[in-house]
Amino acid sequence: MRPVAVIGTGKTQFGAFPDRTLRSLAVEAGRACLEDARVPPSQVEAFFLGNFAGPSFAGQNHLAPYVGSALGIVGVPATRIEAACASGGSAFFHAFSSVAAGLYDLVLVIGVEKMTSQPTPRVAEILAGAGDLAGEIKAGATFPALFAMIARRHMYQYGTRREDLAAVAVKNHANGAKNPYAHMRKVITLEQALAGKLVAEPLTVYDCSLVSDGAAAVLLAPAERASEFTARPAIVAGIAQTSDRVALDEKEDITTFPAVKKAAEKAYRMAGAGPADIEFAELHDCFTIAEIIALEDLGFVKPGEGGPYSSAGCTALAGPKPVNASGGLKSKGHPVGATGVAQICDVVAQIRGEAGELQLPRHSLGLAQNLGGSGATAVVTVLRGA
């Protein structure tokens, strides 16, 4: 296996864009990425598209060649990867694998989702397709409901407080307000977060990530060739994708995601680094409780300590372990298939020192964690400066 580098990134604004199509968003991000690395589309040797539910949201299937050809990428493998909310991370993992294995040199990854063309109850139904339709979903669960049940159990087992969940939302909104690409650039208070409209008890709208349109792209190359394309490559130091059961009621302990733990262990081992070495992270805060559990599963804190750690400000921009400097899924937005790729873009921007107002002082070793469904897919990536 040979070392792999991210040599280019590109993304669109995240938001609600009624007059944009899935393809136009994906093409915009892909083109920005190729221009960033100064690579013409004709040199791309393989293309992976992370997309969760394009066929349901937009009716279009066969999405990878549909998007690739619009970018000028033809005659090469063009493959769509679906892994629920980890579709983007999984597409990145498979692109990485193909470069690491020596199959190709220049591989493009685009993550995209166009969600806002459907009314909220229909969006909830499409997203529910990432759960167990024959069990939990049939009983009336939605994704917010699954994470609400996770939150209830975490609160019961560890004493995590409503305020701890709200603190995650307040912090991510404070960060996202400074991110020009974010969907909701709005600062919120703890009182607002606590008094939000209930979605699934105890979660309010402020505990839930946004329904967004958007795309993100990265270009991978063997590390030994990175200097041909960029002065500031980011090296994929460690990466792993893992799986688990889809249904929440088949898991032994729902206050932890074993797939995340396992992926983290593998990625840390590959990177020769541990949780204490990670300087900053982009975590999958599809719901506030998910960020708290991610802190625990990644080993940043012990089980049960994610809530107090968040409330104490340890994950804020100025804290010892900044998490979701980008605003996270909560404020930046969560165009499902784009999320895992956007996380990589945001970590790379920090490593390159291009994060603007959100630039962190320590930015040489970062981590991205992408979660699918209620934990059935996890992708953890450790990136470092060259």
Binding site: A124, A139, G140, R152
Partner: protein
């Protein structure tokens, strides 16, 4: 049978709009296995004992056990 976790769903999917708000729970059966079902009547909390009322279309409906 006891409640392992629960939530009251306010923002329902298309198919259950007319039911909202409604409570769902993961219930631990006496043999230790778990199932996700609906709660009828009085709201329940983690640790509460529940009993099966009926199964409709493969979905179990529980209510708070009268003895608890």
């Amino acid at each position: 049978m006891k409640v392992y976790t629960e939530t009251v769903v306010h923002s329902a999917p298309e198919a259950f709009l007319k039911d909202a708000p409604y409570q769902i729970a993961i219930v631990v059966r006496d043999d230790g296995s778990r199932v996700t079902g609906r709660i009828l009547g009085e709201r329940v909390a983690i640790g509460d004992s529940v009993e099966l009322v009926e199964s409709r279309d493969g979905v179990p409906y529980f209510q708070k056990a009268r003895s608890s």
